[in-house]
């Protein structure tokens, strides 16, 4: 049975490649689950913001795409070993990664969000109102860099390794406010009673891009072209509205 299926899929693949000889074959890797970006719905189908965006991008590129599931640790090694051709799994563009892979233009950037107790009523952008407050951040994040550069000396900064420890201290009133990746704050702080968003979300860093092998410059060009088109013609916005209540577009 298994052999038959392999034979059938081979035949199908040959048919498919024969029928669309000019089409590109692309394998795109995701690390699931990472809601709402990529996860399996109750039927076991791969879905999410990046999955939908990848599908739209493939259509735009007229490419024949296959979605692959890959654990995060093996993402870049798997790409370099040609197990797949693109990574669209919330990989932030950083100089360290850019040494090894080729990034497209960013296609989303989640903002940093300010969260605090209901009683918190200072304006987070007003340095005199924030004076003496204690702010929690996750060590090494773009939010940490922002607070360190903009608010050192005004507020007391406490750095945490995990978001869970930080939220515990926010609940315990050791922190007045936390500045954290918006989806993280949404899932950890806003799910608790007595806490709210206390300031305008801020976009920091370059954002998330499609990662490719360095030699695949032609693919990168097509990917960038397709992403630009999707952002302009409203497809991107439609997909974004399906998954987010806030703006992640860059």
């Amino acid at each position: 049975m298994k052999k038959l299926m392999i034979a059938a899929s081979c035949a199908l693949a040959m048919l498919a490649s024969g029928a669309h000889a000019d089409e590109r074959n692309l394998r795109i890797a995701f690390d699931v689950p990472y809601e709402p970006f990529e996860y399996k719905d109750e039927n076991g189908d791969l879905t999410g913001f990046e999955v939908d965006l990848a599908a739209a991008m493939c259509e735009e590129m007229k490419a024949d795409c296959e979605f692959v599931i890959q654990a995060w640790d093996g993402m870049i090694p798997g790409l370099l070993a040609r197990k797949f051709d693109l990574i669209m799994s919330s990989m932030s563009i950083t100089p360290e990664r850019a040494e090894r892979v080729l990034f497209s233009e960013p296609y989303y950037n989640t903002p940093g969000g300010w969260f605090g107790p209901d009683s918190f009523n200072a304006d987070v952008t007003d340095m005199s109102a924030m004076k003496g407050k204690t702010v929690g951040v996750q060590r090494g994040t773009t939010m940490d860099t922002f607070v360190t550069e903009e608010m050192s000396g005004v507020v007391t900064i406490k750095r945490y390794t995990t978001a869970d420890d930080m939220v515990l201290d926010l609940e315990g009133q050791r922190l007045d406010v936390v500045f954290v990746d918006y989806p993280v704050g949404e899932q950890t702080v806003l799910t608790k009673d007595g806490f709210k968003e206390v300031g305008e979300a801020v976009k920091l860093g370059e954002g998330v891009g499609v990662a490719m092998r360095k030699r695949d410059k032609d693919v990168a060009e097509e990917v960038n072209k397709a992403l630009r088109k999707l952002k302009e013609d409203g497809t991107y916005n439609a997909i974004m509205k399906k998954y987010f209540a806030y703006d992640v577009k860059v």
Binding site: G140, R159, D165, L168, Q173, R174
Partner: protein, 241 residues
């Protein structure tokens, strides 16, 4: 040539600026404060607890045994988590004056470290007390000394001599254990290293430097304890040296 090599390395280093050196220095001050205070308080409580632990009445020695058993039987990290996060979960604590103390991470960490080192020190001193040679105690009794005087003049001074080497180990272990203070947001030496590492993504530079700082502190402690041992154990030195 080593000097050229060091000069070249310093020239392209972005990490060891005046600002980061100050961060390390502040971290060092915090580490020294934390360790020094917990050792002093721990030792002050350990001596009477060790004496109680040697008392024959189980209602007196039992609770001390239980305390040392619990604090030596669980990891310091867990004790710190329980005191730091646990206290904040007590309903209404934020409205009491205790919160002034427990709001900052320094005092919960000091409390956890003190309870931990006190438990170990109690056992070290107790071991030294019960190994007091029987003849010394009998001689003291023969001189008509009461219990208090025996303790003060005979048992504790000779126990101190036997305990000092084991205690110097405990002090060095405590210095190294204090590195976990950084998990509750205290910027001690390790906390400073973690912050600097995450800013520059340079683990070797950030952590090797901090390891050297701990080594310097350790060498100072070893030196101090060698002086104390020489003083306390001078009767054991070969004659004429």
């Amino acid at each position: 040539m080593p000097p050229d090599f060091i000069a070249a390395w310093l020239n392209r280093n972005e990490i060891f600026t005046a600002m980061t050196i100050m961060e390390y220095w502040d971290g060092m001050v915090t580490t020294v404060q934390l360790v020094f205070l917990c050792l002093i308080i721990g030792l002050a409580f350990a001596v009477p607890l060790a004496i109680l632990r040697t008392v024959k009445n189980p209602f007196v020695s039992g609770p001390v045994w239980l305390y040392t058993y619990i604090f030596r039987g669980t990891p310091l990290l867990i004790q710190l988590y329980i005191i730091y996060y646990g206290v904040a979960q007590i309903p209404g604590i934020q409205e009491t004056f205790w919160w002034e103390i427990f709001r900052e991470p320094f005092y919960p960490a000091l409390l956890a470290f003190t309870l931990n080192t006190c438990a170990y020190t109690t056992e070290i001193i107790r071991g030294a007390i019960i190994s007091t040679p029987h003849g010394e105690i009998e001689a003291a009794k023969a001189y008509g000394m009461n219990w208090f005087m025996r303790m003060r003049r005979i048992v504790l001074p000779s126990a101190a001599r036997r305990a000092v080497q084991a205690y110097s180990n405990e002090v060095i272990f405590m210095l190294h254990s204090s590195a976990i203070a950084s998990v509750v947001t205290i910027v001690d030496l390790t906390g400073a290293a973690r912050n600097i590492y995450s800013r520059f993504y340079a683990p070797f530079d950030a952590f090797i430097f901090v390891a050297l700082c701990y080594m310097v502190l350790t060498f100072i402690l070893v030196f101090v304890f060698r002086k104390i041992e020489n003083h306390l154990l001078r009767h054991q030195r070969p004659a004429g040296s």
